[in-house]
Amino acid sequence: MTGTSDSRPVVILADDDDAITSNLAPFLERSGFAVHVASNGEAALDLVERLDPDACVLDVLMPRADGREVLRRLRSAGRWLPVVLLTQVGESGERAMALNEGADDYLNKPFDPQELVARVHAVLRRARPGRRPLSAAPTLRASDLRMDRVSRRAWLRDTELLLTPKAMLLLDYLLTHPDELLSRDRLLEVLWGFDFPVGTRAVDNRVAELRRALGDDATRPAWIETVPGQGYRFVARVDDAR
């Protein structure tokens, strides 16, 4: 589908359902990506080997190595290209796992295709070629804040932060998506795995909890900025603390 002089980002789309790939691939092409389709995990790994793509979109449920397996094998081989997982709605364990195992983002089926394009653009923007993405780092540091993502603990200077599990999940997502405008709906989905018909205040409450723990001033934020009418942005610089 792509020519050699093509400057479009190369994206691998792996899903075993032909109805998905035959509709999604042309859409992604039209949206400015050079798309290569794999119908199972092994084929996706072969394509990565052969094409050295800019990003991967992997379905979690696939024959011959599912999306998680592909992700694990990519990361353990030191391949840090951005990966977006297509997950099952509501499986909270699956979401946490997706982020812990180094997926750059995930999207629940059935998703809005425009949202997938937005996510792929975002992970490409965030990508640090040849370097481990923040989402695959076990420990992150932002100024005086340190987070151990494996044990789900965080420290501000030498004091451990006492946070509810959901606030910790939110902090993890903010730290792995710095300097990105995150809508309340998106954060609600991160916290709950699905969109509630109403109740984005649930997000505001957790952000308030984080701000209290971090001693952040909402009017002059050093950590979490409110983008009026839109959502939040983590403004501090985040580094892999290896």
Binding site: A19, V89, P110, F194
Partner: protein
């Protein structure tokens, strides 16, 4: 108290034959000690023994009845649990089978859209896209319910008055709310409400759903009251309105998934709200109840245990046993 009386009555009923037999025996023995009925024993002793035998039979029958009731209860409990599991499995299968076709339809529509469809086709594409979103939303809502029945919920102390005020603020953003009076009443005397434990986000969503419903099914000028009170070892949260009410023949179905009354058919929504409320309250070990009078209004009550014992109570209170005091849902 009532149980003690019932116990005494039961003992009397079982022992009556024995007592009657003994009394008849004593009387016979005193009045006609010489009468013999071609039996090995005296008539008095026979009457006494007959009484004892009848009591024995009654006792055995009562024991058998109790055992049958136990077995029936256990079977009902097991059937309810299996029913829930079956429903969850069904919802997950439905979700699994529908989400790929829905994703594909959405991608196909987005393709047509990007390719630049002619004007007449574009209108059709927009319409199909809207209907696809509707199915996706419905599927998402059903899946949400299934998730809430199983996923672990947080148990942290909840400041209920703060939560109720926050709900009132949040629903204030619904345009129709401005034409209704919404009042939150929380007791301060003789002491404030006991602290609840649970998942604040979920309880917020439950109460917000109820207030949003009250707004939806009322008219400008109607009153909506959100009130909390202490009720034994529980806190009772009520959302009452002077709105349209629910017809008597629809009230028993309101807690079920996808139940939409005749009045709701012209209004947007998936019919998932009250089912969601029921699941959230049940997961907190509480109960829900509803009372309504057609064209007069509705009151929905949530009874939440203070100690926070999840998963212990039946979800919907038995309305047949309520005391019919207007304005107070009974549990």
């Amino acid at each position: 108290m009532r149980d003690d009386q019932a116990d005494a009555r039961y003992r009397l009923r079982v022992l009556a034959p024995l007592l009657a037999g003994t009394a008849a025996g004593i009387a016979l023995q005193a009045v006609a000690p010489d009468v013999r009925l071609y039996l090995a024993a005296s008539p008095g002793l026979t009457a006494g023994l007959a009484g004892l035998a009848v009591t024995g039979v009654l006792l055995i029958a009562a024991r058998v009845r109790a055992r049958i009731a136990d077995v029936t209860d256990e079977a009902l409990r097991r059937a309810a649990a299996e029913g829930l599991q079956d429903r969850l499995r069904f919802l997950m299968r439905l979700d699994h089978e529908l989400k790929n076709p829905l994703t594909a339809i959405r991608a196909g529509l987005a393709n047509v859209d990007l390719a630049g469809a002619p004007a007449d086709t574009a209108a059709a594409v927009t319409s199909v896209a809207a209907q696809t979103d509707r199915i996706a939303r419905l599927l998402g809502d059903l899946r949400k319910l299934a998730d809430l029945e199983t996923q672990p919920i947080e148990t942290a102390p909840i400041d209920l008055p703060g939560l109720l005020r926050e709900v009132a603020d949040a629903v204030g953003e619904i345009p129709a709310a401005r034409q209704r009076s919404i009042r939150v009443t929380v007791p301060q005397a003789p002491w404030p409400l006991p602290l609840l434990e649970g998942d604040r986000d979920l309880l917020f969503i439950a109460v917000q759903n109820l207030v949003a419903n009250a707004i939806k099914f009322s008219s400008p000028g109607d009153a909506i009251e959100v009130r909390a009170s202490e009720d034994g070892s529980a806190v009772l949260v009520e959302v009452a309105d002077t709105g349209a009410g629910i017809p008597a023949d629809e009230i028993s179905q309101v807690w079920q998934e996808l139940a939409r009354g005749r009045a709701a058919r012209s209004l947007p929504g998936t019919g998932i709200g009250l089912a969601l409320v029921r699941v959230i309250v049940t997961r907190h070990g509480g109960q829900v109840a509803i009372r309504s009078r057609d064209r007069q209004g509705t009151v929905v009550g949530l009874r939440l245990p203070v100690s926070g014992r999840p998963d212990t109570a039946p979800g919907v209170a038995d309305l047949r046993r309520r005391h019919d005091t207007p304005g107070t849902p009974a549990f």
